[in-house]
Symmetry: C2
Subunit: 322 residues, 2 copies
């Protein structure tokens, strides 16, 4: 491992970090002092899907350009899909195991002399030969790990493509992706199951704890690895009045989250590993905690703003900051 | 069991059967002599989804009205989603086990004096308490069974909602539904996996046997009940060049069909039961045969026109025909 250093071409470490969490559907940015204090913060809908191929610089200037004029002694680190083939500049995946040092050394500096780097995603190959990838979540994991102050932990990042990641000795050693959130959205809005469900997720017919009961019934119904079959039961239960229309979205959510947990446990052997650290918003966290409880597991909310914390930790590992 | 009888209000058995297989997206019709000879046959896109709520009679008259004028001594049996709550008249589900006699006795004659009946679907309750249903497939199974001339068999009906059904003593004793085809369509066309696949299924970039290789690679990758995880591997394999874009649709198809077979075997204990009888078109049949072979199972194509044969057998069980 080479010694960490300041940004290429820079005379000295910077006084500020501009942390960008630039994903598929949103862009979040924070300008921080070297000590981690947040000075400016914003978020917008400028996810990479909405940015034309040559338009990243323009969006960047529009959203954070004024900050950089105000605080010129700043190094910029950008994580997420902005570093993918469809993003601004492609930062190739770094193979697991990887920790702060590997990430800091593998930063992509696309323009000589400019203090702007893309954080690479992580890749690994599973025992059966299939590759797996993450991009953006690794920074959240490093941020949550930094806040926890431990060396070993298992992180769960629920979402469109949920990630379960094992950290040993402060390095991500392996992870598995699950298409839970994307499958939920497809089935909830586009499948035959959607036909009898209420039209809109944003105005749920049920509120917690009635939602919770329907969700947990789904977790319990998740079964033993027969997802293609149990998914259809949502419709059949509805036909016979066992499951009212307004309870079906939460039941389906529970079915899929329960399946994810069962699959993850069979793949990760995470049973006796202490609490699972959940990196997500409070609502999803509550769902996963109650689902994990069904499996006899404890879920614990990780630190907020994990992305910004992770980028700060990576910048420090590279001595990019004064 | 009561004695079978002619159609309610009819003076004598009819000389002809008009068999309707009226599903979600299509309508197939055959006018047959009592001996089974097909006199007229047609199919159209008038599936129940395209028929307005009060429009079934008009579609019926447009498609088969002229036949009934030409052959007035005809009894009409209609199977499929036309007998559902969203169809023409609702024929309540009949609980398994059910054979020709139970189906014949449970026909719904919606209009007194009119020789037109709806065939009910089948329902059952699985051991874990979840209900399951089929509507239309039961007639195909009875037709295929009639053609086979055996009393016991396992039938596989691949499709949007695949069915695996166990027949004992000429009665369907239990069955399981799998959302294989619908999930394929959603993932193939609407998910993140679709983004790098060729645009159109109708003009596949690969032809058999290259398609077959990609399909079988998917079957082999189906894994041990970790579908949410293996689905994402399609994307990851693509990112690393392990799976070219044009092979991804067939790989995904194999992944899902392999998962269906594994789930069905775990639920039905169908391992030592002899050949599985496949009720589907030749293309799907070829796929399922090659996938079943991976599991050491033999798939055998069932008779063509199973729906029409099944409706004929049900009509005969009720002595509706001369």
């Amino acid at each position: 491992m080479t010694t960490a250093s300041i940004a290429p071409g820079a005379a000295a470490p910077a006084r500020h970090l501009l942390a960008l969490d630039w994903g598929t559907t949103s862009l979040r940015a924070a300008l921080m002092h070297a000590d981690g204090t947040v000075i400016r913060e914003t978020s917008s809908r400028d996810g990479i899907l909405s940015v034309p191929a040559q338009g990243f610089e323009a969006v960047f200037q529009r959203v954070v350009g004024p900050w950089l004029q105000e605080f010129p002694d700043t190094v910029v680190l950008a994580a997420g899909m902005v570093g993918s083939r469809q993003g601004w500049f492609e930062a190739p995946y770094v193979a697991c195991p990887a920790g702060f040092a590997e990430m800091a050394e593998s930063l992509l500096w696309p323009e000589p002399g400019r203090r702007l780097a893309l954080v690479p995603g992580l890749s690994m190959t599973h025992v059966e030969g299939a590759p797996d990838v993450m991009r953006g979540e690794e920074v959240q994991i490093f941020g949550a790990l930094d806040a926890l102050g431990t060396d070993d932990a298992i992180f769960v990042l629920p979402g469109t493509h949920s990630k379960w990641a094992v950290v040993q000795d402060r390095r991500i050693t392996r992870f598995h992706t699950f298409m839970t959130g994307e499958l939920y959205a497809l089935l909830r809005h586009q499948s035959i199951l959607a036909r009898v469900m209420p039209a809109d997720d944003d105005a749920p017919a049920l509120t917690w704890p009635a939602q919770r009961d329907a969700f947990l019934a789904g977790v319990h119904a998740a079964g033993e690895g027969v997802l293609l079959h149990t998914l259809f039961s949502v419709r059949a239960r509805g036909l016979f009045g066992h499951l009212p229309a307004e309870a079906q979205p939460d039941f389906l959510s529970g079915l899929l989250v329960g399946e994810e947990i069962r699959e993850a446990l069979s793949l990760l052997d995470a049973g006796g590993a202490g609490p699972l650290h959940l990196v997500c918003n409070a609502l999803l966290c509550e769902r996963y905690r109650s689902a994990l409880d069904v499996f006899g597991l404890v879920g614990q909310a990780a630190a907020d703003n994990a992305s910004f914390r992770g980028l700060l930790a990576i910048a420090r590992a590279r001595v990019l900051l004064a």
